[in-house]
């Protein structure tokens, strides 16, 4: 066995990427339909489905909070990983800088979402 093998920390990012990919594939199209088409055009769903009081109640419920956090954070980690690897694929090997920028933005988005969900109360 070759000496000096360093364990890769990729599983962390790969797991977040995989979780985000699974979630976006299963729920993404439905969320786009509800928030982008059904609600604005007033089809299929009651007009006040996404009204402010309803959405506030949703975000204050523990399960609602978890759902919003998972959607925002995991979608971001998925996108960050995809963008980082695509940069590599097209020949931009920015290394640590690109890694920090991609995953840093996902981390920032996660922290902001978690903070907002906490301050909105229970």
């Amino acid at each position: 066995m070759k000496p000096g093998l360093k364990r890769s920390n990729a599983p962390i990012f790969w797991a977040l990427f995989g979780a985000g990919g699974m979630l976006s594939a299963l729920l993404g199209p439905m969320l786009v339909f509800i928030t982008g088409l059904a609600i604005p055009l007033g089809i299929l769903l009651p007009a006040d489905t996404m009204s402010y009081p309803k959405m506030l109640a949703f975000a204050q419920n523990f399960i609602g909070k978890s759902f919003i956090l998972a959607i925002i954070a995991l979608f971001l980690w998925h996108a960050a990983h995809r963008i980082f690897h695509s940069l590599h694929d097209i020949g931009i090997h920015a290394g640590t800088g690109a890694k920090l920028l991609c995953y840093g933005l996902a981390m920032l988005g996660t922290v902001l979402a978690a903070y907002a969900l906490l301050v909105i109360g229970f």
């Binding site: 070759k2 093998l5 360093k6 364990r7 890769s8 990729a10 599983p11 797991a15 694929d89």
Partner: protein, 251 residues
């Protein structure tokens, strides 16, 4: 040569490092018959047109894995690729992509041989056995777990197909990972923990971005992409669970 002999143009990538600054293309006009492979085409060039052309070959029947080349940009065994499928257009033959060129169509294999050694491609017995204990027995299911991965002939088409190996030659790559997996899932083997060190390392499976072209070009029906991606799961499980259930492979 008869009047209606068909002639195809073969464009070959030439490079003799002792006199050429960089590789260049040379076109040869090769008379051919419908049963001639691209390998036979370059053999014709060597025998009748330019004896200095270098390439590797041996068995002529997709078993030895020596004659891999880029044929019109696609990693192929030249012995099972036929000139008739390109005629009347010109066919372009180049050394396998992503490898250093030793001479003309001959690539440097050192990097791959090192990888092949590093995966310990042999059964490491779980415990010492005496001859008196007889042979190992396996069920068809135990054989099925590794059989397809044992068909690799080290032709390196999958490495020429892998964009990630092209970007990072230290990546252990498709064939070596498939062979590593072949021993890890063999019921007679006990060397998994040692081999997983390589899978888990920065040279390991996470260099793969699931392109899948390696499995597409494999002439022996091996699915290296499958081996690589199964081991992403194995490696991730080991990464997160190693503190709960340490079973080697962790550093």
């Amino acid at each position: 040569m008869s009047e209606n002999q068909k002639v195809i143009e073969i464009e070959v990538l030439r490079y003799h490092p002792e006199k050429d600054n960089e590789p260049y293309q040379q076109v040869f006009e090769v008379p051919f018959t419908d049963d001639m492979s691209v390998l036979q085409g370059v053999q014709y060039i060597k025998d009748y047109l330019d004896g200095s052309l270098s390439f590797r070959w041996s068995c002529r029947m997709a078993i030895c894995g020596s004659c891999g080349m880029m044929i019109n940009g696609i990693p192929s065994l030249s012995c099972q690729t036929f000139l008739r499928d390109y005629y009347p257009a010109r066919v372009r033959v180049e050394a396998l992509a992503h490898f250093p060129i030793e001479r003309d169509l001959v690539i440097g294999l050192e990097g791959f041989i090192e990888k092949l050694e590093s995966i310990q491609p042999y059964i490491i017995p779980k415990e010492a056995r005496t001859l008196a204990q007889g042979e190992y027995l396996q069920t068809p299911e135990q054989l099925g777990a590794y059989e397809q991965f044992s068909s690799c002939i080290n032709c390196l088409l999958c490495y020429a197909a892998c964009p990630q190996f092209g970007l990072n030659p230290s990546f252990i790559g498709p064939a070596a990972t498939a062979l590593l997996h072949r021993y890890n899932v063999d019921s007679r083997d006990g060397g998994k923990a040692e081999r997983m060190e390589l899978i888990n390392s920065e040279q390991g499976v996470f260099n793969c971005t699931a392109v899948g072209y390696c499995s597409e070009v494999c002439p022996k029906g091996v699915d290296p992409a499958n081996a690589v991606n199964q081991n992403k799961t194995n490696s991730a499980a080991d990464y997160f669970l190693r503190f709960l259930a340490p079973k080697g492979g962790a550093k």
